[in-house]
């Protein structure tokens, strides 16, 4: 029996507003507990919620950028459940009238584009954080401690349709959504801080079946790596169960990062169990055409459009995708260096390869103040005009990353300008030939490969200042006539 997996993903994005969703407490990033609270976000009786205008702008922006239809007549609902991190015993969320419906997100895997359909984009509030004390296993905790700083922080939930078919697609989707939220400037997009959190609904069914299999929800995936591994594990587990004739139970499973397995957390609630009803404290929300138009003016160049623009410079889809998901300064640097050199591949390779590689190696997080984008263009031009070798260019880059200087100055000081004068090179070659007569004899008797050794000697003696291509050519001429 051939089986196919189907995956849907629910992502929560924490918005980077100054204040919480339904009160004016500051959104704080601190370990100091319970310092940004008010009667509304800790659910004291009589406190009333008023939505944050900025958060509504942000979710509208996200919904528009994913091509969603905007629900102009929206509504907030109460999602009821009892858990101590939820002080009101309900979460304010949206049920049948979310802000956005039926969108789509373009993703890129290698040199291929794909489209992930989005079912809905809705607004809700975050919960507090609970920690469990006591010795040993979490189930035997003796008490639960609560910090409500996060309680009420605006969250956008984006739900895909069950259209994802592999862990690779799932990862590409989250990467795209993360970059989108950064470019829209609605979230920091930092996975390690929980700015973006995701759950996956996974089912497996026979290849020719028109119906989906029983779905299992996987929680607690904190990184793209765990998302990929958890999905792969769960597809394998369900496939094996079906092949062995074991029934899949609809449930929520927990991804164990250390053991790399999923295990049962609880049986899955149906939406009826949450007893959704419209929140009587929050009147209906009308998003006027005027409001939507104003939000549209905030729309930046989206990752998809950035890729298209980058491809017009000559980059491949995957190169454009990598750049579109890079930090802003890298994107800007590419555009500037390409403008100056008109060489897309060299600009791309020097920025994403050599520059970032050297920065990582030297633990440099931010470019030094004196570092000018023009320097990279200068280096590329120096290589192209044969004035410096590739090896020298790397040395120059290392130097300008740590010392306030310019590429030409370094080349001069370190004597890195290549010798292109054939007479001078010939003089040096004669010297090398004298010193390596045995090698020369072997070359003459047919061991052509050894020319490389002589070129190496030449480079060594000239501190890398000889143009190696030219040197090789002249050596051959000299030895073979």
């Amino acid at each position: 029996m051939s089986l196919k997996p189907t995956i849907g993903i629910e992502t929560h994005i924490e918005l980077n507003t100054n204040t919480k969703m339904f009160c004016r407490c500051a959104v704080v990033d601190t370990d100091e507990p319970n310092i940004s609270l008010c009667p509304t976000c800790i659910g004291l009786p009589g406190a009333l919620p008023v939505p944050n205008k900025k958060a509504i702008e942000f979710i509208t922006l996200l919904a528009l950028s994913t091509g969603c239809e905007i629900t102009s007549k929206g509504m907030f609902h109460r999602k009821n459940y009892f858990y101590p991190d939820l002080p009101k015993n309900y979460q304010i969320s949206q049920f049948d009238l979310p802000v956005g419906l039926n969108g789509e997100l373009e993703i890129v895997i290698d040199e291929n584009k794909d489209y992930i359909q989005i079912e809905r984009v809705h607004m809700e509030e975050d919960t507090g954080k609970s920690s469990h004390s006591g010795s040993g296993r979490i189930e035997s905790a003796t008490s639960t401690a609560l910090d409500f700083n996060r309680s009420g922080v605006p969250l956008v939930e984006i739900v895909t349709k069950p259209v994802i078919s592999s862990s690779k697609q799932a990862v590409a989707y989250i990467e795209e959504l993360r970059q989108l939220s950064i470019d829209l400037n609605i979230s920091e997009g930092r996975l390690e801080k929980g700015n973006l959190r995701f759950d996956a609904n996974i089912s497996v069914a026979p290849e020719d079946s028109t119906e989906l299999g029983t779905k299992v929800e996987i929680k607690n995936m904190n990184s793209l790596r765990s998302l990929e591994r958890a999905i792969d594990y769960e597809i394998q587990r369900q496939t094996k169960a079906l092949e062995d004739g074991v029934e899949i139970v609809q449930e929520t499973r927990h991804w164990d990062e250390n053991k790399e397995v999923t295990s049962t957390m609880r049986s899955k609630e149906g939406s009826a169990d949450y007893r959704y009803f419209s929140d009587p404290d929050l009147p209906n929300m009308f998003l006027s055409d005027q409001f939507i138009k104003e939000v549209e003016t905030l729309m930046p160049l989206l990752p998809k459009a950035q890729r298209e623009e980058l491809m017009t410079t000559g980059l491949s889809l995957s190169q454009s995708n990598i750049l579109s998901k890079s930090d802003d300064w890298i994107k800007k640097m590419y555009v500037k260096v390409f403008d100056q050199t008109k060489d897309s591949v060299a600009s791309y390779n020097w920025i994403t390869g050599e520059l970032q590689g050297q920065m990582r190696k030297a633990n440099i997080e931010v470019l030094p103040e004196w570092f000018n984008d023009d320097y990279l263009s200068e280096i590329i031009e120096l290589i192209k005009s044969n004035k410096i070798s590739f090896t020298s260019a790397k040395i120059i880059l290392t130097e300008i990353l740590t010392t306030e200087t310019t590429p030409s100055k370094v080349a001069e000081q370190k004597n890195l300008f290549q010798e292109n004068d054939s007479e001078k090179i010939s003089e040096m070659i004669n010297q090398i030939i004298k010193e390596n007569q045995d090698i020369v004899d072997r070359i003459k008797s047919g061991e052509d490969k050894l020319v490389g050794f002589l070129v190496g000697q030449l480079m060594k003696q000239s501190n890398g200042s000889v143009n190696p291509g030219m040197a090789k050519e002249l050596l051959f001429k000299e030895l073979k006539g």
Partner: protein
């Protein structure tokens, strides 16, 4: 026990304890309420009429600017907590 719902599960979701007698009497009450509400599904509505948008407040939602307003201090916020430790509210263990 009603055929249409599980009163024990509803009590569990609402986090309340019901005696056998209470379960019976509430089951009866809930059955009557459900029957009453189910009558709505017999209504023949066109798509426009189906777009029900009822809210107890006949008022448009107002939004607030994203500006911080100081509220409770840390000490005020946890002053009523029956138990606290290291600045956190402490409650009986809760594990799913």
């Amino acid at each position: 026990m009603s055929n249409e719902f599980n009163i024990k599960n509803i009590a569990k979701l609402a986090s309340i304890n019901l005696s056998e007698e209470e379960q019976d009497s509430l089951s009866n009450d809930l059955s009557i309420i459900l029957e009453h509400v189910n009558a709505l599904s017999d209504l023949k509505l066109n798509s426009q009429q189906q777009e029900i948008f009822i809210h107890p407040l006949e008022k448009e939602l107002e939004l607030q600017e994203d500006e911080v307003v100081e509220s409770l201090t840390h000490d005020e916020a946890i002053s009523n907590a029956p138990e606290s430790k290291d600045g956190k509210f402490v409650v009986p263990p809760s594990m799913e």
